[in-house]
Chain length 358, copies 2
């Protein structure tokens, strides 16, 4: 027979005060009322001695606050998205708030069913991690529930509030670098099934236009018939193999590009292998760039020159913003768009263009 959980009234009785007083003390209520220092100490001491643990369910039911924030991750198993999830958790922990991440399928089965995660009163607010295909439904739902949310690393197209990398700057950094290396024939590769990639393609095109570089259709390789989501290694492998093939097709053209800008590091890794399979040497024969800054970028050979998204900063800003929103949901100043500067990481996959290829 186990002893029942010790509750607020046990400690009230033990201390000879009322439960209301105990509640105030344990919650550090300082507004309006004040508690005698010695009473406070005694209560705190007794609470510790009895091993009191507030029942968060009961507190939340009453106060409409759980003190927990939720995050929705479409693809927690992906290298980038996995790290992003980890970083928001670490950021939350540094602020002493609990953060749990749930998964959201992105296949368009009943949107309602997908939203069950959000339904409960379990979370005070949400972080929406990465591209969510049904982003608008989710955002609307959350607004109806009066639960604030912040989109994180989800492209510029989402509404405020959001925290993201300044990807336009990223492409500028990248194209300036390639330009300086002498590259003029630059291709792009990625799957347009990702909204983020669509946006990056747009940014890439804009960057090319600014430099006055032409971009023939044969220099844009997209693989769009792949599921938006990779639920396991097998799906992931299929996409990778396809990426390799697309890279090869790109490089086997009569007038091949001297550089391939890949929409993500993942695609760049495929391009690296594709080039190798054709007997091409990177970066001597072709330069390849990534985008994101995942670990795969320094594991591969040659190591990848890429744009790193500073996810620690993005995550920290997003958590701070959400916390502020939970406190002041109506503050218009918080409806903002946070853009963090990315960083060019020069490693081994780019080189000056050779005379014979130019």
């Amino acid at each position: 027979m186990r002893k029942a959980r010790v509750g607020i009234r046990d400690i009230a009785e033990e201390a000879g005060v009322s439960i209301g007083t105990v509640s105030k003390i344990l919650n550090n209520k300082t507004d309006g009322v004040r508690i005698g220092a010695e009473t406070r100490e005694r209560v705190v001491e007794i609470a510790e001695r009895l091993g009191y643990q507030a029942n968060p369910l009961a507190s939340a039911l009453r106060s409409k606050r759980t003190g927990i924030i939720g995050a929705v991750n479409r693809n927690p198993g992906g290298e980038f998205m996995g790290r992003l999830g980890q970083q928001v958790q670490l950021a939350a922990r540094r602020r002493d708030v609990e953060l749990f991440v749930g998964i959201m399928k992105n296949m368009p089965d009943s949107v309602e069913a997908q939203l069950s995660i959000l339904q409960g009163q379990l979370f005070d607010g949400f972080l929406l991690l990465g591209d969510l295909p049904n982003y608008r439904d989710v955002a609307r739902k959350l607004r109806n529930l009066n639960k604030p949310h912040v989109s994180v690393a989800a492209g510029i197209a989402v509404e405020v509030p959001m925290a993201h990398t300044d990807e336009a700057l990223g492409f500028k950094l990248l194209l300036d670098y390639l330009w300086g290396l002498g590259h003029r024939k630059i291709a792009f590769m990625g799957s347009l099934a990702w909204p983020l990639v669509r946006e990056r393609l747009r940014l890439f095109k804009e960057g090319m236009a600014v430099k006055g570089l032409s971009l023939p259709g044969e220099y844009i390789a997209t693989m769009d018939n792949f599921p938006y989501n990779l639920e396991d290694f097998a799906a992931s492998e299929k996409l990778f193999r396809s990426t390799v093939d697309h890279a090869k097709a790109l490089l086997r053209q009569a007038n091949p590009p001297t550089a391939i800008v890949c929409a993500t590091d993942g695609f760049a890794l495929g391009a690296l292998k594709g080039a190798a399979q054709l007997g091409l040497r990177v970066p001597r024969d072709v330069s390849i760039t990534g985008f994101d800054g995942i670990e795969g970028g320094f594991i591969c050979q040659p190591e990848l020159t890429t744009i790193r998204r500073p996810i620690e900063k993005v995550a920290a800003e997003a958590v701070d913003l959400l916390l502020a929103l939970i406190d002041s949901p109506e503050d218009p100043a918080l409806q903002r768009r946070i853009l963090i500067e990315p960083e060019l990481i020069v490693r081994e996959s780019c080189a000056p263009v050779l005379e014979e290829n130019s």
Copy 2:
């Protein structure tokens, strides 16, 4: 002015029945009492029409059940652990239960502070993902709270209940394969800071002994002065670089091994690069094996021959077991150890040993 959330009493009023009846109907209570079919239908219809959503906080407070399970992940950003987290979420979703994953730091700051995740009554049970350094404290705590837990992919050393890969079988598969290729001089590499790696080293030694192969100390490369946890890319990169160096040291010996069995795919990726930096060709000059079956294994060149842990199966079994435990916490039959068979994936990193090296 927003309409208040629709509650159980709104629908009772609308249907002209009492809230008790509504509760029974919506919870499909069939024990003892029965409800008239037409009453039931009417109530259900009204509930749907009004868009009724039970307040999970209130239900849970009363019933002591949230219907949600929690998972604790030490390293959700790692490639393997990230996928594991994803797989348990998918498995839970298939069973229509919500699963949220929280992070647990593994540095020995106050154990109590780390356990806050577990404190609440928010979860009906827990999945403990991977090696937790303070596993015993966590398990004990959960037992005191009467919350069942299942350890997942955490090594054979943890107590029941647990679900894991049969790693002894994995090493047998691996060593049989290498033996068949003619390898007799086999080295091991990994960081003993991971409990899992310590166990794998033991398994490796046993497997070598069974084959009557000698294992000189110079054939065991360990890097133990690295943090148990990798919180970001930078830490991860440091460990990777160190792995590369250790592999090179291993291969530069006077009498180098013909094969290196790496404790995880991550170490094998480092070995691959180390060999390449020495001008060695894999698998011609040295064979390298991994363990886990992460995506990095087919992205690298040459692709990695490895033992795949079938995490989908491990995850599904773990979720089923936990769900059963939540229903029957005292059932001794559920205090079990589930071992799933791993699979040898032959790719490109192993070859028959050359005469000149044997």
